[in-house]
Amino acid sequence: MNRVQNGDAKALRQIYGSYKSILFGLIVSMLKDREEAEDCLQEVFTQLWEKADRFDASKGNLYSFIVTMARNKAIDRIRSRAYKDSKQEDHTISDFSLTPESDFNNPEEDLELSERANLVRSALKKLNSKEREVLKVAYYGGMSQTEISEKMEIPLGTVKYRMRQGMIKLKDFLKQDITE
């Protein structure tokens, strides 16, 4: 990323090669529209190039930085009034724990990402379905806790409790898997 910060577009191309599939997969899962997702991914990489100086390696790794940026861009789109108006009624969200095993077929993809993806899916399967559902809606749907409460017709406190329990368990499962 240092090279990108120094204006090396080739380095950015390498980053694109490494992360395009995972980022595009994430954005498509959120927006449910490949064309819209491509626009969003373009926006992500354009911003990564333009705001490369904002990346501080001491505060986090590149993966976190770029994934956070992609998700935020997708949430911005989801939350824009025009998007809500056009898509809200058809907001089906896939269950991420049921997504097929990783099929990174691009040779440029990092093998480590594939292994980590399998660990996350396995950890998600260990959660109970109610906790998984709330996390799924929050993460992919970009919904606030209040919106989830209204959409799923469950008390706000329950949403918060399930979200908290789900994430804490997930954190612990992942920690376990890493140490194993």
Binding site: L12, Y16, D103, I148, G157
Partner: protein, 360 residues
């Protein structure tokens, strides 16, 4: 679950914050929390943040179109604006005055940048100082928080010890009360035992008195028997004296026969008053189922029963009043005989004759 505030602890808010699912108010609340977070909380926050990032991997990879890469890099490499520096150089024919103007502008720029840079350096130094001061403050605040936590822990420990002591005291008080109760019961038991001992003494005294009374009663009974015997004896003797005192008394002496040759007897008969006294001597006591029976035999007539007699010890002075001799003597001959008969006597003699005598 319905209490919303109970779900706004650090972890809950951190999860909501990282998933961008909080309200504006909650987001600000958490950012404040994060500023004052402990090392432990920061660690949890970092781990949760990492977990949220990892969720992106669960969505499954998707390949964007080939054109997208071209679009992106055409935009970037084709002079797309960038905050820091630009990519490739621009080769074109430019007039000389443009270079002169550019050189002048560059000179002004360099001078300006130098001035600006000095100012920026000063600003940076000041900011660095402020940062150092803030870091020191944070450090001292962390230290104070640490001390505060230690004190809170100590207070909690002391409170717990105090509660434990209170519990022990309560237990002691309960045990003391129990001991007092037991002592009371023991006292009552001792009193009861004392009373029982006293009553036992009383019973023993009463038993003694009862025994004495029984002895006295037995003594009295024996005396009554003796008195009765003496009275009977006296009565017999009075009758004997009455018979002896009569004007005409017939004396019939009876001698012993085979069963008891040493035996003898006398009949003193007051025929006028029709009463008599019998003496029996040296004949054995009759068996339990037998009595001696006295018979009056007038001449050739059948014997007339004059009563049955009994005694336990043979003696020479056994005197009996003859109750049934309601007969007048015969002018010719009056004989008396004593036979041994079944208990109660018989109408006519059936047993052995022990004594026999004739009136002279």
């Amino acid at each position: 679950m319905s209490d919303n505030s109970s779900h706004n602890d650090f972890e809950s808010l951190a999860v909501g914050y990282l998933l961008d699912a909080l309200t504006e108010e909650e987001r600000l609340q958490f950012e404040k929390m994060l500023e004052n977070a402990t090392q432990e909380q920061l660690k949890v926050y970092r781990e949760l943040s990492h977990t949220v990032d990892e969720l992106a991997l669960a969505s499954g990879p998707e390949s964007p179109s080939e054109e997208l890469e071209d679009r992106i890099f055409d935009k970037i490499e084709g002079g797309g604006s960038r905050d820091k520096g630009s990519g490739s150089g621009m080769a074109s024919i430019i007039p000389l005055w443009t270079y002169q103007l550019a050189a002048a502008l560059l000179l002004v720029g360099v001078i300006g940048f130098a001035i600006y840079n000095t100012g920026v350096q000063e600003d940076l130094d000041r900011q660095q100082m402020v940062i150092s001061e803030l870091e020191q403050e944070i450090e001292s605040r962390d230290q104070l928080q640490g001390e505060l936590r230690e004190r809170e822990q100590k207070i909690a420990q002391l409170q717990s010890e105090l509660e434990e002591m209170e519990r022990v005291e309560d237990n002691l008080r309960e045990k003391e009360a129990l001991v007092a109760q037991l002592e009371n019961q023991l006292d009552q038991q001792e009193q009861l035992q004392q009373e029982i001992r006293e009553q036992e003494n009383l019973v023993a005294q009463l038993q003694d008195e009862l025994d004495r009374k029984q002895n006295i009663e037995e003594d009295l009974q024996q005396r009554d028997v003796l008195i009765t015997e003496l009275r009977d004896d006296l009565e017999r003797k009075e009758q004997l004296l009455n018979v002896i005192a009569a004007r005409e008394v017939k004396l019939v002496i009876m001698g012993g026969l085979d069963p008891s040759p040493d035996g003898y007897g006398k009949v003193l008969w007051d025929s006028e008053q029709r009463q008599a006294v019998l003496q029996l001597a040296n004949i054995p006591a009759p068996p339990e189922d037998k009595d001696y029976q006295l018979w009056l035999i007038k001449g050739e007539q059948d014997p007339i029963s004059a009563g049955v007699f009994n005694f336990e010890q043979p003696s020479t002075d056994l005197f009996f009043k003859v109750e049934n001799l309601d007969e007048s003597p015969s002018e010719q001959e009056n004989n008396f005989a004593v036979t041994l008969e079944p208990k109660g006597g018989m109408p006519q003699p059936t047993g052995d004759m022990f004594l026999f005598g004739q009136q002279n």
